[in-house]
């Protein structure tokens, strides 16, 4: 007879019990999915809405499905093996593969961190706060939050921050869109065969499914110590997270389409969009939009450098974790601090080619995504690693289709972005 003694077992019986278990394992999926709607994501959705109106809304349905499929595999691997994705790749595919993936992730995440800080700067400038004040303060806030807080407390703060994404839903309603049109465009796919539309389409896909998320999600599932018995609740966490991400994306596109596309105003950044919303949809819509951007940027700026430092150290076998002292984990702290400090400082340099850096980031992300996805699929199907938790046949078909489509899209995007520039 095996002992069954985990705490969550003697919660009250019935439906309420399920809720309690869910609450105890939730976090990783929802948080990962929300960091996904970072400064870069909001920019992409805003531009998509402003340039193509409701035309891209339908893409969110397949994207959500793909996001959930991919994330679910990571969460499952984390629960079953108790190891991070970087660990598993290192153990099964050796140091070379791990090294080049980590270097590419480091470059991409560094670019993303810059984008997050520029998002913080741009959104607070709408409220009249100079970036020379907001950037140093937010960088210091992020550093202390992570280094001085415990993971569990930080996770709670992040879950609260996830709630603020509701501001986008409110601005979506304030923009007074034509709902019948919205509904039609969501369920009936429309397509244009020209380069700018294709780039926009792939931009939406690429910003939603990124390589670093897989590493972050798996590590945080491991960190939370979720057991195999609780896995189905963890899966729910991932699914809810995926839907939250795309519901927020949906309302951003709707808001920008209803106001900016209608008046033929083109925007280049999320902050532009927030400003442009002001005179047309009212001060509140504009300010809510800007606040949402600030929240998302700061939120992602807190997680990205930490996650990057964490899985890079994991892959190289260096000690990592904020519960360790600097002397015990020097590489971890140096990397983390470097990402925050340099990522924040760069934004303050006048005339820094941020847009070009962002493009490079997107290219690097696109280049590693296929490798990460293929490694994931072969790991998750390895019986030696996953035991009875390998993909089922149906799931394998779904995931291979997803992965192959994603790979084709990213390769096309890479080619177009090289040709375009």
């Amino acid at each position: 007879m095996k002992l069954k003694l985990f705490r969550r077992q003697f919660l009250p019986k019935g439906a309420f019990r399920t809720v309690l278990i869910f609450l105890s394992v939730m976090g990783p999926g929802i948080i990962t999915a929300n960091i996904d709607n970072d400064a870069g994501g909001i920019t992409t959705y805003s531009v998509a809405g402003a340039s193509y109106g409701y035309m891209l809304l339908w893409t969110l349905i397949p994207v959500t499905l793909a996001l959930v499929v991919v994330q679910e595999m990571c969460a499952r691997m984390g629960v079953v093996t108790g190891k991070g994705l970087a660990d598993l790749i290192r153990e099964n595919y050796g140091v070379k593969a791990t090294f080049y993936i980590m270097i590419a992730l480091l470059v991409a995440d560094f670019g993303n961190t810059m984008a997050e800080f520029s998002g913080v700067a741009a959104s607070l400038e709408i409220f009249g706060i100079s970036k020379y004040i907001s950037i140093p303060l937010s960088a210091a806030f992020v550093w202390f939050l992570v280094v001085k807080g415990t993971y569990r407390r930080v996770e709670k703060i992040f879950l609260v921050a996830s709630m603020f994404y509701i501001t986008y839903i409110v601005s979506g309603f304030l923009a007074e869109p034509d709902w019948t049109e919205v509904a039609k465009m969501t369920f009936v796919p429309t397509f244009q065969l020209n380069a700018p539309f294709l780039v926009m389409f792939m931009g939406v896909v690429g910003t939603t499914i990124t390589p670093w998320m897989q590493f972050y999600l798996q590590s945080s599932v491991v960190e939370k110590g979720i057991r195999v018995e609780e896995y189905k609740h963890s899966r729910l966490d991932v699914i809810i997270g995926g839907f939250m991400t795309d519901i927020v994306a949906f309302f951003i596109i709707v808001a920008c389409a209803a106001v900016l596309y209608k008046h033929q105003i083109s925007v280049e950044t999320a902050a532009d969009a927030a400003l442009a919303l002001g005179p047309l949809a009212g001060k509140y819509a504009s300010e809510l939009f800007a606040f949402g951007l600030f929240n998302a940027s700061l939120f992602s700026a807190s997680i990205l450098p930490l996650a990057t430092a964490y899985y890079v150290c994991e892959g190289f076998g260096w000690e990592a974790g904020v519960n360790k002292k600097f002397r015990e984990a020097p590489q971890f702290y140096s990397l983390f601090t470097f990402l925050i400090v340099v990522g924040a400082l760069v934004v303050l340099i006048p005339g820094f080619p941020l847009i070009r850096v962002m493009l490079l980031t997107q290219v690097v992300n696109g280049m590693i995504l296929p490798f990460v996805l293929i490694f994931m699929l072969s790991l998750v199907n390895n019986k030696e690693i996953m035991g009875d938790f390998v993909n089922s046949r149906t799931f394998n078909i779904i995931s291979w289709v997803t992965v192959v489509t994603l790979i084709l899209l990213t390769v096309t995007m890479l080619i177009t972005s090289f040709l375009g520039h």
Partner: protein, 428 residues
Amino acid sequence: MFVFFSLLLNKRVLGANNRKVGVVYDISFQLSEQFPRAISLIVSNGSLNRKYADVPWEYVEGINEVAKLTIPSEKISFNQSHGTYEFTLRRDLLDQQVVDTFNRKVIRVNDVHLLRVDRELRVAHVDIGVRGLVRRLGWEKPLDAAVRLLSPSSPYLKKEHFIGWKYIQPLAVHPVKGTVRLSVAYKDLAQIPSADLGEIMVDLGSAERVALFKSLDLKTQARILEGVSLDIQEALLEELEAKDAVRILEQLPPDMGADILEKMPVHLVQQLLGLMETTRAKKLSMLLSYSSESAGGLMTTEYISLPHTITVAEAISHIKEMTLKTETIYYAYIVDENHKLLGSVSLKDLLVAQPEQAIADVMFRKPISVHVNDTVRSVAFKLDKYNMVVIPVINEGGILQGIITIDDILSKVISIAWKRRARTPAAS
């Protein structure tokens, strides 16, 4: 002469007739010796449809830029899969997690440093340094040249980070079955303090953690449970059969055992107590009846009590017999026939007294004590006020129930003062 395993990998393997057989894929080792000896060379052939052959080490004439065999290439037969080995470097060591028992932490192996003596090959060190990483990536020579050019005295050129094999505990675990593939005992782990062992357990993957735990002896298992956080405690205990859990609980000091039981569902506690020997079960169920925030919940029942009628000499020999079982031997408590607390005596008092003196004349009468329902706070204040390191706990009738030592109080006070456990090898 030393050689790195990564440099041997994929080297050509030639038969006695100088014909190419394949390339070096892996090397299997015999672990029972202090420095494991190579027992066979695993050769692979082909890239898409890769096949493997096992060559016993006595046929390997030498291994350096090429591996030369003493048998002709025709004698070697290839199979689709490689055989079953106890321990091979590529599968079980390279890039895997191992425990460094000297520095007491989990490390990841970048390379393996082998010692070649005549035709024998032995594992000498594992490499966990940056140079090892660079070598694996194939950049060692260009990077060395670049560093030498820029800064010839750079510490990078000489700084190897090796750990001697005798401090390495490999964890070759069959991932699905969760059993340890190694026949060697994890004996070196017994030397590591339980708090550090707890941190090591946290750093491992779940399969390794459970497999390692199961392979340890009862005493070490009990010590690990003492050192880890609640989550890990549960995860480990869950893997055990009830009778094994009982045996571990019997190894732990009763206060620790009660702390673990307290978090379990009631029916399970009943069942476990039922499997235990009666006196231990009684003690545990008594401890469980007190709130964990009271003196009763904090105390241990392992203490020395002496009848009030004996002499000092008898008391000393009594203490000697008890030494192994109790938490502290510096204080003993004198009780009457009904186990009512009469006095206390320190080991020092006994040593300076005349052996034939009656214990009742030496003891400190009416010692300071606390009540089972007293709060942690009042226990802490009393220990501080009277400068005691251990305080007896009594019930309404003045019957001695247990003792509380200063270290039990300290961890409680730390958790209240700094809002955390004194040692949490938990999340980052």
